[in-house]
Amino acid sequence: MSEKKIVLKSSDGKTIDVAKAVALQSQTITHMVEDSCVGNEIPFENVTGQVLAKVIEYCKKHVVVDGETLTCKTVAHVIHTRTIDEIRTFFNVENDYTPRKKQ
């Protein structure tokens, strides 16, 4: 997986490192990457650090959506072939489940 990172700089001087794939979820960022590109740093003169951080948070959530089906199907496949204990081990899930009285 390519580890290309982009640095986004807000109007108040804050910088955020983000993987290129994540950043490109935003149309605006994509355009700016295409247009400007001072090295790896992209300036956002109109956007504060706080807002920029929220945008990146949103983008991170949506990268999952792209590979979502493939990842989910893979996980489903893993679940399908294993026992409950093996599932817990594989995904490192803590067993905090206590079955209620049987219906």
Partner: protein, 271 residues
């Protein structure tokens, strides 16, 4: 006596050998080989005996690639059948292969397996993942942890399962106040053939073969269209073996599914 070419063709259509490379089907394919060996190896034509022997060796060779306890159990069961049924020379060759595999397995378990370390997944992603599971996996998942359990309670998952299992009957108006989960549970418990779900096998009358079903349908799109997307008749492993051999299962078989369900399937046994 069944035509040897017919039996050969039937076995080839079963695609047992191919299924062995599939993590998903490996344990069932092994169980099918075991059942075939147990139920009628000696009656088989010579070339089919060779093919089954070849697939058995494959099963042992491929075991290290399957990283589940289900696969190991199935392979051990197959070994028992090998020891009980195969003639001396073939038996010894198979045992040698199995021993090699055990060595390879030990070597692999020493290197730490790639476990995924996921932060706890949000409910909507869990639900999306669970939409790809069959009923037994859903029920397993419901016992993994609290958050997984919560996700399996999502009613739309059970509507999906209802559609998969009971297709046209889903059009029946569900009583208000009854969740899809309740509705599915009641229908599922009352349904005999659902016991065979784990085998992954069903009989498709449109292509006249025993297939690895996908969501209870024939993988062949044409067949799904012809059947109006009706679910297939499911088959247990023992039924698959008997289908191949063209025999009836005796009533005192311990692991046999409900007799009524099996009787319906004998319409598909050809001589």
């Amino acid at each position: 006596m069944s035509d040897p070419r017919k039996i050969m063709r039937r076995y080839q259509n079963l695609m047992v050998g191919e299924a062995l490379s599939n993590n998903h089907h490996y344990p069932v394919a092994c169980n099918e080989l075991s059942s075939i060996l147990n139920l009628g190896y000696s009656q088989l034509p010579k070339n089919l005996k060779a093919l089954i022997f070849r697939d058995t060796l494959s099963a042992f060779r491929l075991l290290p690639d399957m990283k589940t306890s289900a696969a190991v159990s199935a392979a051990n069961l197959l070994l028992k059948s090998v020891e009980a049924v195969l003639p001396k020379q073939k038996k010894n060759l198979a045992i040698v292969e199995f021993k090699k595999t055990k060595v390879a397995l030990k070597r692999r378990s020493k290197s730490h397996e790639e476990d995924i370390d996921l932060p706890s997944l949000p409910q909507d992603i869990l639900i999306h993942i669970f939409s790809f599971l069959d009923v037994s996996s859903l029920l397993s998942s419901s016992q993994v942890s609290r958050s997984w359990n919560q996700a399996t309670c999502e009613d739309s998952l059970w509507r999906l399962q209802y559609d998969i299992h009971f297709n046209h009957k889903a059009l029946i108006r569900i009583q208000s106040g009854v969740s899809w989960r309740e509705a599915f549970k009641n229908a599922y418990i009352g349904d005999n053939s659902s016991k065979d779900l784990r085998s992954g096998r069903g009989y498709c009358c449109y292509c006249d073969s025993v297939v690895w079903h996908e969501n209870l349908r024939c993988p062949n799109k044409q067949c799904r269209l012809k059947s109006d997307n009706e679910p297939l008749e499911l088959m247990s492993t023992r039924q698959v073996a008997n289908f191949l051999l063209g025999t009836m299962s005796s009533s005192d078989d311990e692991s046999d599914p409900d007799d009524e369900a099996s009787r319906g399937l004998w319409a598909f046994t050809l001589y």
